[in-house]
């Protein structure tokens, strides 16, 4: 027969100071773990929103980012009538030649200036990105030195507000609008007219890359294969999704460091939980003896103390979730492979909160194991005499 769980809960309530302090210790450990998971999760979801499964990105052979790639107008003429590329309402192929470069603006975090990805593209490129919508202002006009900035850029860079002028290339550019990419990485970019941007960079003929929309997901894969095999074009094509997956690798060092930190903290907190449970066992020696006299078996006492430890740490886990919740939605940034900022928001999901609570329960149970074993092994007579 097992000891009712309410016995354990009441015990936790009676020793509320100790309970709260131990639980808070566990909560902080869980909060650190959740913060790291939320950060990595946020970055992953930002990058996955950015990619359209139908999009194929075409770079120069050997390049692994748009920034170092070179793509010529000649290549574009050969490429845009390839089979498998969808056509827009006007009957033109959905293929967008783009130039990608960097610009520097002072941001909230880096007053000395942080790098931003600057993209020059034609209206077809905007239309192809279905997650991007104009939030404020208007789009840039062809042939004008006008820029439209992503939502995160507008939030994080005081200089990037509608109506302001910024210096880039060979002149001053006016910011005329803000677009929202529904949480995608494009929110960290600045967009302008393809011709104007590339002529300011003196690379009108040799732009950076080309983005095409395939008619369907299967064709997209076939298109990637046929472009890569085309000896004449000499390009490297990949699904936009794979491209963004590659970019997530930036999060790996943070993820590993965070997990190691959380693990070390977990060992520390499980020792603390062990301390609390040993104290609980010591204080309740006579109670344990009484329970044994009443006929509860050794096993049920072991289980009861384990359950108490698990309940204590589950409380800690829940508190940890509460501590980590305010992080949800806070934006931060990370350097991507082209050394510019990608901003994203912490993403605290039910899944990772569950992971946090499970983590807490595991560490609490490990900490409670030895004290519970000690409690179950007490001799009835000595236990009754103690305390």
């Amino acid at each position: 027969m097992s000891i009712p769980f309410s016995y354990n809960l009441r015990n936790l309530v009676v020793r509320k100071t100790t309970t709260i302090m131990t639980a808070l210790g566990i909560a902080l450990t869980v909060a650190v773990l959740l913060a790291i998971l939320a950060l990595v999760n946020g970055l992953r979801s930002t990058l996955s929103v950015s990619a359209d499964p139908l999009h194929v990105l075409v770079l120069r052979k050997g390049s692994d980012s748009e920034l170092v790639s070179v793509f010529t107008r000649g290549q574009f003429q050969d490429l845009k009538f390839k089979a498998g590329i969808a056509t827009g309402r006007d009957g033109q192929p959905l293929a967008s030649m783009e130039v990608v470069t960097m610009m520097i603006l002072p941001s909230v975090d880096n007053p000395d200036g942080a790098n931003l990805t600057m993209r020059g593209l034609d209206p077809v490129g905007i239309a192809m990105r279905r997650n991007v919508h104009l939030a404020r202002g208007r789009w840039f006009r062809p042939g004008q030195r006008e820029l439209v900035v992503g939502k995160f850029v507008a939030d994080r860079f005081p200089a990037a507000q509608i109506g302001k002028m910024v210096h880039f290339g060979r002149g001053e550019w006016q910011i005329v609008g803000v677009f929202d990419a529904a949480g995608g990485a494009q929110n960290s970019e600045v967009w302008g007219d393809l011709f104007q941007v590339s002529s300011d960079l003196q690379r009108v003929d040799a732009v950076s890359s080309c983005l095409v929309t395939a008619t369907d997901a299967v064709t997209a894969r076939a298109l990637v294969a046929s472009l890569n095999d085309d000896q004449r074009l000499e390009v490297k094509a990949m699904l936009e999704r794979d491209y963004y997956d590659q970019q997530t690798s930036a999060a790996e060092p943070i993820e590993y460091t965070g997990l190691i930190v959380a693990l070390i903290m977990a060992v520390g907190s499980s020792f603390a939980a062990m301390n609390t449970m040993y104290a609980a066992v010591a204080r309740r020696a006579r109670e344990i003896g009484t329970l044994r006299v009443l006929g509860f078996s050794k096993g049920s006492i072991l289980l009861s103390f384990l359950a108490e430890s698990a309940a204590l740490s589950a409380l800690g886990g829940l508190l940890g979730c509460l501590l980590a919740l305010p992080l949800n939605g806070i934006t931060t940034s990370i350097g991507n492979s082209s050394f510019s900022e990608t901003a994203f928001a912490f993403h605290v999901t039910p899944n990772i909160m569950l992971a946090g609570v499970v983590f807490a329960v595991v560490l609490g149970s490990v900490g409670g194991l030895f004290p519970a074993r000690m409690a179950s092994r007490k001799q009835i007579l000595t236990a009754l005499r103690e305390g």
Binding site: T22, M265, F271
Partner: protein, 386 residues
């Protein structure tokens, strides 16, 4: 004050299991804190090593990924205080299979005759250095890299370019020793220049500069940037140390990361220690009453309990610090270590910071139980059970 030390220590040791668990718990958390403090110190507070203090790095103001002209070099060499300038092109490229992170070691195109002058701390046999200067397709590799791939002098290393297109093959002409992590390969920039198409020549990603005196570094950096302030490619010159920190900052907000984790760890330690002290004082109610009956003043009792907490947390802090120095050694050896500024295994400020933090945590955690114990009346204390 120290009269009561034996009593304090005896008190620490009376519930051995609890003390050991607490010390272990604090020690583990403090070793994390030790690593954080050491990193913070290395990044933001330490003096650069003597050879590093003499180096500046110049790059395009916008980004590493935008070039600056080769023509700048001559002008830079004429700035007063500049001793030597070398091109340093981060080459990137792919060795074997780039999906294995091991293969992504750093590769730089430099000017061989200047490399070992600017990096005075590199040690290389004289004949190997000369062989490297003579062979246009030659390269030198760091000892760590040589050990990793078992490279030997005379081996050929094929690399396919990414930033700079083309297939390259370097012959190992020498292996150098460096006090820092050295998973790095240097090859002749001339080889790169000659392999590039006409239109892409004469571009430089970075310049490494050797200066005459660390005290002049700010002035020289300013003078160099002023030279090109009105050109299309503006430069940014900074000390090698600031450059390393800036490079790391690209990974994210490192400072916030370090401070956030340190705060969480410190608060956890505080809770653990406070919990232990509360438990141990609660058990001792009657004993405190007896001490008071014997004539111990409230102040002495306060001091004894605070001392006990401090002793436990300082023990944990010291153990934690010692473990953290071992951890830092591991961090320095990891590939990540190449981005870290050089640091010593023992830094007095770091050690002092760790132990002081531990002591402060001890005092803070036991203040409440200690005050209440010293304030309870004798009768009350004697009556308490448990």
């Amino acid at each position: 004050m120290f009269r009561y030390l034996p009593l304090v220590l005896k008190n620490c040791w009376r519930n051995r299991r609890r003390t050991i668990l607490t010390v272990a718990s604090i020690g583990i958390s403090m070793c994390l804190l030790g690593v954080m403090i050491a990193m913070f110190h290395a990044f933001y507070m330490s003096d650069p090593s003597p050879d590093q203090a003499l180096r500046l790095v110049t790059r395009n103001r916008v980004s590493f990924t935008v070039f600056i002209p080769r023509a700048y070099q001559v002008q830079m060499e004429h700035v007063p205080g500049v001793r030597a300038v070398t091109v340093a092109n981060w080459f990137g490229g792919v060795y074997k299979d780039d999906r294995d992170p091991k293969n992504n070691f750093a590769r730089f195109a430099i000017e061989p005759e200047k490399l070992f002058r600017i990096y005075g701390e590199y040690r290389i046999p004289e004949d190997q250095r000369k062989a490297f200067e003579r062979d246009r397709a030659g390269c030198v590799v760091g000892r760590d890299l040589a050990n990793l791939f078992h490279f030997q002098v005379g081996d050929r290393i094929p690399v396919t370019g990414s930033v700079f297109p083309g297939d390259y093959e370097f012959t190992v002409r020498g292996i150098f020793d460096s006090p820092r992590a050295s998973e790095i390969l240097y090859f002749n920039n001339e080889y790169l220049e000659q392999s590039l198409p006409e239109g892409r020549r004469g571009n430089v990603i970075m310049y490494y500069i050797l200066i005459d005196d660390p005290a002049h570094s700010a002035r020289i950096a300013k003078a160099i940037d002023a030279l090109f302030a009105n050109s299309t490619a503006q430069t940014k010159t900074e000390s090698a140390q600031a450059f390393a920190v800036g490079f790391l900052a690209l990974l994210g907000n490192v400072k916030m990361f370090l401070i956030g984790i340190s705060a969480a760890v410190m608060f956890t330690v505080l809770l653990v220690s406070a919990n232990t002290m509360a438990m141990s004082v609660r058990e001792r109610g009657r004993e405190v009453g007896i001490l008071k009956t014997l004539g111990f003043a409230p102040g002495s009792i306060l001091g004894m309990i605070l001392g006990e907490a401090c002793a436990i947390s300082i023990a944990g802090g010291t153990i934690g610090y010692l473990v953290s120095t071992l951890l830092m050694r591991l961090v320095a050896k990891s590939p990540f270590g190449a981005y870290l500024p050089a640091f010593q295994p023992f830094e007095l400020p770091v050690a002092v910071a760790c132990v002081l933090t531990a002591a402060a945590i001890g005092v803070m955690s036991s203040l409440v139980p200690a005050l209440s114990a010293s304030r309870t009346s004798i009768v009350e204390a004697l009556r308490s059970t448990d």
